[in-house]
Symmetry: C2
């Protein structure tokens, strides 16, 4: 099944473009879970159970697992096993390296971990991204315009009469656009530019949109700018840090329902299903 | 001890700017090691034993360990333990992510693994690199101009009247230049540009220079262009794949001595010591 087909099935079932970010920091896991043999895994399992009917994807940023060493690796493995099979998993790794090395990152992310999607960094050139597209049915989200203030520094600098990130988008479309596997990362903190990217790439290129919630991106504005295209609107801390005590699961579900409702307001594809989910 | 002080001690002891890349691929480890409980680790230990008096650093590209899953993590851990303490270790991870995530990459690379140096990707802006500089005595090598052909695509595009990679260098010097921790990655496949980078940054900014050997970079030209500055000239496959049978250790040592001699030819700091090493 193609990546976009899986996505449209999920939009049918769960009715939302929400992606839940599992960027779990051992430091803020509630006290009552700290005695578990693997607190990060225990926390993630609880969040997954509370949210898997209310999202289209889970995104795991590898940094949070790598910083926890071997325990982190175990947690990531267990988390991937705990996610229901029909839900899309995105490995937010932002990898980028020359050809023979990139082969190994692709193996790690798609074969060892088994992610459905992956984020990659384009700085080294499109020849360094080629290898990821050999994996059929997987989506490769190329960093275009990120959600942090520093994105102005290089990504938005003018090159050949257009910002560098538009240049990245154009070159990637040219090289990989026909393969039905190319996606882009565009931060929710730039709704105006997000709209322009959506017009440029058309409705079928998946956009991974981080930055809603803690980072300040507005859910409604993001959905409007996305204009009904294939998209994963990611919320991490806004859900997983919604509570900090024994009721963190309930707080996470409430926060998820709230984000789902915010997204649904401007989204004709989502609205009806959300009325059901809230019941 | 500062990073540069460690480097100059090593130049004194081992007399070379050679960095040995341990990018070990399970697929080409000699047959007689494949039955070991961890073939990658067994291979690396043998290469380290054969080369640690002939290099200033080991560089491990994380991709090769990640693709081998948990066994790869074990191999990386064991490899770092096997490297003599005075030799510099560089984690070639090319990480790059927003602030709170970058904190976790820094933790992973400097606290969990304990690397002395790290490669990072500047595409997301200098605000995403800030956190790495909190670790005193560590060197942060920012990708500037990489060794692959695709480096022309974005890194060498003109922005503000200069190539993007020069822009990256200038911004990083501005932000982090005074901290005695900033380094850059500049590929050996661009000797002319390498020379210009060295003039621009001065002699004390460490340059990590990949691309000599299999990738086609010329050892002598690289050393000339580096003009006596702090540098790690990396050779990976040229050493670790020099042999493929039971004599791979001897072949690796011969190849190392050969690279060391090539580097020494144009390097007044290295020449004398190398005459000794060859004996």
């Amino acid at each position: 099944m193609t990546f976009n087909k899986r996505y449209s099935n999920l939009l049918e079932t769960n009715g939302t473009r929400l992606c839940v970010g599992l960027d779990t920091d051992l430091a803020w896991i509630p006290d009552h879970l700290q005695a578990e043999s693997n607190p990060i895994l225990a926390f993630n399992k609880a969040i997954i159970e509370a949210t898997s009917d209310l999202c289209s994807a889970y995104k795991m940023n590898l940094a949070f697992y790598e910083s926890a060493g071997m325990k982190g690796m175990e947690a990531l493995q267990g988390t991937l096993e705990a996610i229901p099979e029909h839900i899309i998993t995105i490995g937010d790794a932002k990898r980028g390296d020359i050809g023979n090395t990139a082969d190994h990152y692709a193996q790690a992310m798609f074969e060892f971990w088994g992610f459905d999607g992956l984020t990659v960094n384009p700085y080294m050139g499109t020849d360094t991204l080629e290898t990821y597209f050999r994996y059929e049915g997987k989506c490769i989200f190329v960093l275009a315009l990120t959600s942090n203030p520093g994105s102005a520094q290089f990504q938005r600098i003018t090159t050949d009469g257009k910002p560098l990130y538009v240049n990245v988008i154009d070159r990637c479309l040219e090289e990989f656009g026909v393969r039905d596997q190319l996606g882009f990362v565009v931060g929710a903190t730039h709704p105006n530019k997000l709209g322009k990217v959506r017009s440029r790439v058309g409705p079928n290129i998946p956009l991974l949109i981080p930055g809603v919630g803690t980072q300040g991106g507005d859910a409604g504005g993001t959905v409007k700018a996305n204009d009904g295209g294939v998209a994963f609107v990611n919320v991490s801390r806004g859900i997983s840090k919604a509570g900090s005590g024994e009721d963190f699961v309930q707080k996470a579900r409430e926060a998820t329902l709230d984000f789902v409702a915010q997204l649904a307001k401007e989204d004709p594809d989502a609205r009806v299903r959300m009325a059901e989910a809230a019941l």
